[in-house]
Amino acid sequence: MGTNSQNDVSLKYEATAAATPERRQALLAALVDSTDDAIISKDLNGIVLTWNDAAAQIFGYAANEIIGQNVRCLIPEELQHEESVILAKIRAGERISHYETLRIRKNGERFDVSITISPLIDGNGKIIGASKIARDITERKKLEKQLIQSEKLAATGRMAATVAHEINNPLSSVLNLLYLAHKSGSLADIRSFLTTAESELVHVAHIARQTLGYYRDDGTPSPVVLQELIENVLAIYEGKLTSAGIATECQFEDHPAHLGSRTELQQIFSNIVANAIDAMPQGGVLRIQTRKRVHPDGVEIQFADKGVGIRKENLEKLFEPFFTTKGEMGTGIGLWVVKQLVEKRRGQVTVTSSTDTGTSGTTISIFLPLTAPVEHEQSTANCVI
């Protein structure tokens, strides 16, 4: 059991069967040891005081190996500053909830964790340390990556259908024009057929180039001019937009290039545009705006449609994985991926919508901070919750 009477942990459990303080403590200790999450307590200097079975399992250190050591040995070198920030918050009586970061196991392996840290308060109300719950989220992260990857394939498939249309039509014309040139006896006519065929092929080449760029997965950040990227996405969906009778209105404010992955940003915008198209089967207008923002510095991109709107009960589930209103046609992960990718660059996604006839429509706003921080970078002084 090993609970020191000095550390009266004020965990707010209901001890249902426990009558005496000793039984209550025994019950709590058993609870602590039965969970899959690491539960660790430390003093205000970061020295490990208690270490449950799950902690031993997850981090690889036995309790007697680590109690008395500084918890910093669990933190990767470039993230050491996190511990200073955490202790400062604890001393101020603050709590940190579900903060996702990296830690190191005894064997040196780094892994993803989600940690929740609360101040430890003694019987006199004084903060004497911190209690930390750490969940190994390696599996969850792996699953999320797979989901994003599969959604990307699905999105690629959707794009492929659009692209096929964009390419098949000009090619039909080209076949006809070349046939006509073949059969014609007039040199002037032949020339005009060939010229027209040539322009059609140039257009095809343009579409092919754009979409090939989408498949290639580099993910390495590069300066991206958002306006140009959005226009590219609109060009790819041009056929679909026209045949659905949707006009686009763009208002782009000047802003510096955004440092990020072109393919990921394209995926974000592509998913939103595709949704807007689905929302307006009878046609309409899609308004796109980019605006510079300060404090924090960044760009806000807004997509506003006058489509059918999203019902209130669906709005809450909008970003959940596998939630879709499109029956078999929907994958349910388009917007979930948008959220993942936006939050990956510490941005924000907000949706407002109305289903009232006459004023229905949905607006999706994306805020991207100016420089997408590389995950877990050193300079952030604030361990954001």
């Binding site: 096929a164 098949n168 039509n169 014309s173 006509l180 006519d189 322009s199 257009h203 056929g239 009778g245």
Partner: protein, 159 residues
Amino acid sequence: MLEMTSAFYLSSHEDVLNGWGAEAEDTAGVSRQLRKPTILIVDDQHMIADTTSMVLNGAGFRAQCAYGGQSALEMALKLKPDYLLTDIVMPGMNGVDLAISVRNRLPATVIVLISGQAGITDLIRQAKDVGYEFNLLAKPIHPEKLLEYLKRTAPHLWL
């Protein structure tokens, strides 16, 4: 999408596009088999509709084109073409709905659907579910293959 700026080639073929009117005198009193088979071509992509018209007009057909389902239906009812060749995905009335309407009103018209998009098989299946079977070709199709297909599908028009 490329604007059809190549009006120059079109104007020299206006009479070819309006193939129907030009030799109307020939058809008076002549039995069906001796006049050129008539075809209505429907595609919202003007370039495709117009070039296909030109191809067919030069190959023994009398072709006219429409750029949308609704206008195509109106034209078809007036002109009662031997063939209807229509794209599927079009704004407004789509090709399958057009085909069903034409099949109902002009049962003798040979209907051929042509599409550049995967995924329209749903529309075809829906039509099949309510008892309509339509020929379906995939874009892009070589003009000679199209000609061969059209002749093969209605040989009685080519005796």
